[in-house]
Amino acid sequence: MIEAKLSRSVQRWCPGATGVTGAAKLSGGASQETWRFDIVHPDGTIGAILRRSPKGYGAAPTRAAGLAAEAQLMQLAYEAGVPSPRVMHVLIPEDDLGTGFIMQRVEGETIARKILRDEEYAAARPLLARQIGGILAGLHRLPLDKLPELRSRSATQEIAEFERDYRSLNWPKPVFELALRWLRDHDPGPSVETTLVHGDFRNGNLIIGADGVRAVLDWELAHLGDPMEDLGWVCVNSWRFGEIDKPVGGFGTREELFAGYETAGRKVDPERVKFWEVMGTLRWGIMCGGMMQRFREGPDHSMERAMIGRRASETEIDLLRLLAPRGS
């Protein structure tokens, strides 16, 4: 069914293509799906990915930028030399595939634990923290006047939004209250500079090969704001997958990250990065609470979602390690 529609679609915009094969769903959320497939072409098959909201699905959640914006951002990033998949086609009504886009498939690994443990990535690992710094600098330099319409969020607004989300869960957590107070007390105020913020730049959302980062994925939380937010989020302990002494995704040190960022010509504010790391840790904790709520109230009654609810306590211990560290 989807193969027939994809076949008709690719023949319209990919000269020489005769159809598609091997369509398989990689993931399906409440409002978005990701499919992989191969475009059959006389010069050789072309690996492709479809990201779409099927027809009739509700609007994307309010924090999401939307698929059209995501496609535009990935294309801009690709053109600016930020590792990103090339967008091949933005869906049109004639495709009858819903809304979304088709991009070139980038081979590599996204599963964080494999990237951190497998021999194949052993040579790349020590270089990644620095490389990520350079990539973030490139991303934060994307010209504002070319960006699609995006929400804009200051630190103050984010604190208020997380507090509202947390209170709506009716889930009294003294450690989260402590974190909220710390954040209000340490709110760094408006950023000197507003840039594009990826919003979910972390180990798990990067395609990595033996040669390093090949593509930055999952742009749906992109927004305008403090560039230091991305540097803080990539350091959140949950994205170190057990390598807790290597803050940058389990790959390396903050110093390496900062050096990569500054070598690429942009300035780091370590105090702000720390603020956003605390904020990010709380953010993931509140997201775990949201998962619990969605499990309990439906529509997703899966065991996986239930278990993510029980991951909130990992953010509590990490918040305590940040805000009330114990002596060694």
Binding site: R181, I244, R311, S313, I317, R326
Partner: protein
């Protein structure tokens, strides 16, 4: 009084059956889901084993800290409220120790292999 085996013994028996007898028969996405199911049963077993003791100790600490009585849920709500109002903070004697002890007890049930937990356990807490 209910009969035995206890819930702890029963969930453990199911988890061990799935782990030892069913895991070798299953592959792919179903194997992943089976692992999640086993993890859930192991978590439930840990909670059934530890909850009564850790809740009692938590209530004890909360009563001392807040000077009021109540259930573990009521006392947590009261503490959350006082932190939100700024009446209690990390300078308050006993707060940090209480939050650490409570959080360590939660990790012992939720994720005893979480790296931060294992590190903090090594500190003797």
């Amino acid at each position: 009084m209910q009969d035995e085996p206890t819930p702890i013994e029963l969930t453990k028996a199911v988890a061990d059956f799935l782990r030892n007898d069913i895991t070798p028969l299953i592959s792919g996405h179903q194997a992943f889901k089976l692992r999640v199911a086993i993890n859930i049963l192991d978590l439930v077993t840990r909670q059934l084993t530890q909850e009564a003791g850790s809740d009692a100790a938590e209530v004890e600490r909360l009563r001392a800290l807040l000077g009021i009585d109540g259930s573990v849920t009521e006392l947590n709500r009261a503490l959350a409220d006082r932190i939100a109002k700024g009446e209690v903070d990390l300078v308050t004697p006993g707060l940090a120790e209480h939050l650490w002890a409570t959080t360590m007890d939660k990790l012992a049930v939720d994720q005893p292999n979480y790296a931060s937990y294992r590190r903090e356990q090594g500190r003797g807490g």
